[in-house]
C-alpha cells in the first residue's frame, strides 16, 4: 500500500477537487497578473527615467570661432578635471541629428528652420559625488574658447524629484498589492479548508498535530501560486505583445520600451507566489484547525 509524504498528500487532495483548483488558480492568476502588470510598468518606467536622467551634467558651449579639432582638444582637457566623469564634443550638425531623433514623428517641425540654431558644445557628465558643481562651472567658464556653461536643466531636476516621490509611492502601492495577493491566497486556502473540514476534524480526533494537517495546505497554496504565476506571466506576455505598438513617443522613447515584457517578471511572480502562498496558507488555515473544534 502506498503512503505519501506532505507533497504527495497535497497533490492527492488537489486532484480530488479539480473544480476548486480551477477557481483558486484562476483567481490567483488574476491577482498576480495585476501585480505583474504593475511591476512591469514600474520597471519599464524606471528604465525610461534612467535613459532620461543620466546623472549630473554640464553643457559647455564653445565660442563660434572654435573649430571642431579645437573643440575635441577642449573636451579632452575638460575630461581631466576633477569631478568630470566624461566629456564629449558634439558639433551643431550632430546636435541637430540628435534633436530630430528625439522629436520622432514631429521632427519635420525643424524643416522650416533656415539655419541650425544649436551651438557646438562639449557635454560633460559629472561624477555623482561632486561636491560643488557651481564652482566647477565658474572655473570652466573662464577657460579659453568657452562661451557659456549651461549648469542645469531645472525641468529635469523637477522630473527627478517627481520620479523619486513617485518611486516611494510605487513601493507603497506595491506593498498594498502584495497584501491583496496574500489575502486572496488566504481566502482560497480557507475555502479549501472549509471543503475538507470533516476530514480535518477526523484527523484531529485521531491525534494529528497542526503540522500534519497544515502541511498539505501550505504546499497546495504554493503549488497553486506557481501555477497561477505561470498563467499570469503568459497572460501579461500576450498583453504586452499586443499593446507594444512601434509608435514613437516624445524624447525618443518608444511605446515598446515602456510596455516591454521584463524577462525577470515570471521569476519575480513565481517568487511572490511562493511567499504569498506560505503567508496566505498560514493565515488561511489559522484557527480553523484548532484541535478542540471538532464535531
Amino acid at each position: 500500500m502506498k503512503r505519501r509524504g506532505v507533497v504527495g498528500r497535497a497533490l492527492r487532495q488537489m486532484g480530488e477537487d479539480l473544480w476548486l483548483q480551477g477557481v483558486a488558480i484562476s483567481t490567483l492568476a488574476v491577482a498576480l497578473a495585476i501585480m505583474g502588470a504593475y511591476l512591469a510598468l514600474c520597471l519599464n518606467l524606471n528604465q525610461a527615467a534612467g535613459r532620461l536622467l543620466t546623472g549630473p551634467t554640464l553643457l559647455v558651449v564653445t565660442d563660434p570661432q572654435v573649430r571642431p579639432e579645437e573643440g575635441r582638444v577642449l573636451a579632452a582637457e575638460l575630461a581631466r578635471l576633477p569631478g568630470v566623469a566624461s566629456a564629449a564634443y558634439v558639433d551643431q550638425q550632430e546636435a541637430m541629428i540628435r534633436f530630430r531623433r528625439q522629436l520622432g514623428p514631429q521632427a519635420d517641425l525643424l524643416d522650416d528652420l533656415e539655419t541650425n540654431p544649436l551651438p557646438n558644445a562639449v557635454e560633460l557628465v559629472l561624477t555623482p559625488d561632486l561636491a560643488a558643481p557651481p564652482e566647477l562651472a565658474a572655473y570652466i567658464k573662464n577657460m579659453a574658447g568657452v562661451s557659456d556653461v549651461v549648469t542645469g536643466r531645472p525641468w529635469l531636476q523637477r522630473l527627478e524629484r517627481a520620479l523619486r516621490a513617485g518611486g516611494e509611492l510605487a513601493v507603497a502601492l506595491g506593498i498594498l498589492l502584495f497584501l491583496a495577493v496574500v489575502l486572496v491566497t488566504s481566502n482560497t486556502v480557507r475555502l479549501a479548508v472549509h471543503v475538507r473540514r470533516r476530514e480535518l476534524e477526523l484527523m484531529a480526533l485521531v491525534g494529528a498535530g497542526g503540522g500534519y494537517m497544515r502541511g498539505p495546505f501550505l504546499v497546495e497554496a504554493v503549488l497553486q501560486g506557481l501555477a497561477a504565476a505561470a498563467l499570469a506571466s503568459l497572460l501579461l506576455w500576450g498583453l504586452f505583445v499586443l499593446l507594444a505598438a512601434p509608435d514613437a513617443l516624445p524624447w525618443g522613447l518608444r511605446l515598446g520600451q515602456i510596455l516591454a515584457f521584463p524577462p525577470l517578471l515570471p521569476g519575480a511572480l513565481g517568487g511572490l507566489a511562493v511567499v504569498s502562498g506560505l503567508m496566505g496558507g498560514f493565515l488561511g488555515v489559522g484557527r480553523s484547525l484548532h484541535p478542540r473544534e471538532v464535531l
Binding site: R3, L205, G207, G210, P291, R292
Partner: protein
C-alpha cells in the same frame, strides 16, 4: 485511567446543564457501559474525555493528564493514546479501508513498514483483510463500523471511547461489534461504551454499568 471530579458542563444558550456534578473513576483495563436516554449527557461526557470540550466546573483526568490544564498543542499527543468509535463511523469515504485504518498511525509519524504490518494485523482481527483496497463508502454499515474500530485499535490505545457504536447497525452486526470490543483485540485497554440501548447490555454481559440521567450519574451495577 479515568477520573472525573464533580464535573459540570453548561452550554451557552441552553438552560439545563448537560452534566451536573459528575464524579467517576474507571480503573485501567476496566470495561464500562455508560447508559442513559438520548440527551442524558453521554456524548458530552465522552467529548470531555477526548478533549473536544472543557468542563465548566470540576476536573477531568485521563491517563494521569488533567485535561483542564492541557495546552491545546498537546491535545494530539493525548488523542494518540485513545481509540474513538462513533455511531456515524467518521471515515474518509473516498479513501480505501487500508488508508482509513493507517491514518491513526500516520498522524503519529509511525514508520511505513510498521504501519503496513499493524494495519494488516487489525484488519485481520476485524475480518476485513479482503476489503483493504476498497473505498470506505462502498462498504456496508457493519463493515464501515469495523473499519472505524480497526482504526481505533491500530495504535494500541490505552482507552477506547465508543459513542453509540451499534446505533446504525442491525442486531447481528451490533453483536459482532460488541464482541470485538470486549474481546482480546483491545489489548487490555480500558473501554467506555456509551449507549442508550439497554438491550446491548444483554447482548454482551460483563462490565460495569453507569447510568446518566439528565446530566447526573448513577452507578447501576
Amino acid at each position: 485511567m479515568i477520573l472525573l471530579e464533580e464535573v459540570s458542563k453548561v452550554y451557552p444558550h441552553r438552560e439545563e446543564p448537560a452534566l451536573k456534578g459528575v464524579s467517576l473513576q474507571v480503573a485501567p483495563g476496566e470495561f464500562v457501559y455508560l447508559t442513559g436516554p438520548s440527551g442524558a449527557g453521554k456524548t458530552t461526557l465522552l467529548r470531555l474525555l477526548y478533549g473536544a470540550e472543557l468542563p465548566s466546573k470540576g476536573r477531568v483526568v485521563v491517563g494521569g493528564t488533567d485535561l483542564g490544564r492541557l495546552a491545546p498543542r498537546h491535545l494530539p499527543l493525548l488523542r494518540r493514546r485513545l481509540g474513538l468509535v462513533f455511531q456515524d463511523f467518521r471515515l474518509m469515504p473516498r479513501r480505501s479501508v487500508f488508508e482509513n485504518v493507517a491514518l491513526s498511525l500516520e498522524v503519529a509519524g509511525t514508520d511505513r513498514r510498521i504501519v503496513e504490518r499493524r494495519v494488516e494485523e487489525v484488519l485481520e482481527q476485524v475480518k476485513l483483510s479482503r476489503l483493504a483496497k476498497s473505498p470506505a463508502d462502498t462498504l456496508s454499515g457493519g463493515e464501515q463500523q469495523r473499519v472505524a474500530l480497526a482504526r481505533a485499535l491500530a495504535p494500541g490505545p490505552d482507552l477506547i471511547l465508543a459513542d453509540e457504536p451499534t446505533g446504525n447497525l442491525d442486531p447481528e452486526n451490533a453483536l459482532a461489534m460488541m464482541r470485538l470490543l470486549v474481546g482480546d483485540y483491545v489489548g487490555g485497554a480500558t473501554v467506555l461504551v456509551a449507549t442508550h440501548d439497554p438491550t446491548l447490555l444483554s447482548l454482551v454481559r460483563g462490565g460495569r454499568v453507569v447510568h446518566l440521567e439528565r446530566g447526573r450519574l448513577e452507578e447501576a451495577s
